[in-house]
């Protein structure tokens, strides 16, 4: 299990255990963490799972794919550390990961 911390726009921190193999988006949705929608279930088709990856974790979470880059372009308030959380797979290496959530997903 990897501990993932989601920090809402208003600053509320929620830490949950996520099974390796699930995505950061699934970790939020399945654990009822508000602020990530993931409407398309992780198909990189809707851009409603936008998160900001904490600087310390950017290397470990990897790079955006071309499709993700393209879709992310249409989310709001996109920063250099923005990712679509359905594209980040949880591994033991990501234990302790912190992501921040945007004000809204649509």
């Amino acid at each position: 299990m990897a501990k993932i911390t989601y920090i809402s726009f208003s600053g509320t921190e929620t830490t949950v255990d996520v099974k390796p193999g699930l995505s950061i988006m699934e970790g939020a949705v399945k654990n009822n963490v508000r602020g990530i929608d993931g409407d398309c279930g992780g198909a990189c088709a809707c851009a409603t799972c936008h998160v900001y990856v904490d600087e310390a974790w950017r290397a470990k979470t990897g790079e955006r794919s071309a499709m993700e880059e393209s879709m992310l372009d249409f989310a709001e308030n996109v920063e250099a550390n923005s990712r679509l959380s359905c594209q980040i797979k949880v591994t033991e290496e990501l234990d302790g990961l912190v992501v921040r959530l945007p004000e809204s997903q649509s």
């Binding site: 099974k19 193999g21 699930l22 699934e26 949705v29 399945k30 009822n32 508000r34 409407d39 398309c40 279930g41 198909a43 990189c44 088709a45 809707c46 851009a47 499709m67 393209s70 879709m71 372009d73 249409f74």
Partner: protein
Amino acid sequence: MSDLNSHVVIVGAGHAGGTLAALLRQFGHAGAITLVGDEPIPPYQRPPLSKAWLKGEADADSLALKPLEFYAGENIDFRPDVRAVKLERSARKVRLSDGGELTYDKLVLATGARAIALPIPGADLDGVLFLRTAADAEALKAAVGPGKRLAVVGGGYIGLEVAASGRALGAEVVVLEREERLLARVACEVLSTFFRDYHEQRGVTFELGASVVGFEGSGGRVTGVKLSDGRVIACDAAVVGVGAHPNDELASESGLETARGVVVDLEARTSDPNVFAIGDVAHRPMPIYGRMFRMESVPNALEQAKQAACAITGRPAPAGEVPWQWSDQYDLKLQIAGYAFDVDEIVVRGDPKSGKFAVFHLNGDQVQSVEAINAPPEFMMGRQLIGNRKRVDKQKLANPAISMKEVAA
């Protein structure tokens, strides 16, 4: 008007029903919620069944919308393996297949649609499969593997996604389609041709304009699909993906208005103010197109779940959404926004041969729908244009050198 203590009964624990149950609690509904489903597992996503699931890249845990513990934790009475058999609206009762009954204050029908079965000889042979439920997907997965021959009846989304997954698993795949082109009901000819070429390049064989008249078998198991021209296509398993029929019988038998689907308004409310219908079973208004339609898509299930949750908890209705859907085949992502109603011109943006292009369907200079292949900007901006009805410069639209953001400005 809301009653946060009312008993809400949701019949159908699919994507729409499951999402609604969670939203009701999220919106502060404090009354009882009963969620009845005829499958043995909690609400889950169906789209991966033809893709990740089939390819062994997803399991039951990853498909579930919420873990089973979620329901008890939120005080949602989830009843699996139970079917609603009769609706008595005057008494506000739902009779169940296990002999029980539920009395509701608000009822939501989320009974979805069932795969259409071909009423032809041999349809009940082992190995003649559908793909609607997780149980179906389990059976299909067991039948597909290296060297296995899979006959796919129907060249729509299900058929093509299964074909792509089948090829990824090393099976031989033949797709049998009744019309002269693929995706005939849901996409334009440019796309039909594109997908046919893409699949053929990856080893799928197509028989177009092929009418299936029966299944042949041996020892109770399917061995071939018989066509109207007499030919038999040999196979080890056959998947039938020829469309789905809305499960609206509970509604129609209770006197609710149905039209191949339960008729609802933009609050997902039926002709009975205490009964709602959402998801694949609902026949709903589409304000952008000025007509009523039944949509079979996850985004629609989500939107209608939101509409019903807002109506029941007294929140203002959510903003209208532009309908959309997606299909993943091989490394292709097809994203579609809108529907091609009232179209007088199509504009192709980009070169199909590059595997990255979009087809816009226009009424005058307004976009009615867009089909985008590996082209998210075209999909996202197209969806925006469909919603805001902005007039576009068709020359700019057709020119990939001009960004979609500029085209839509």
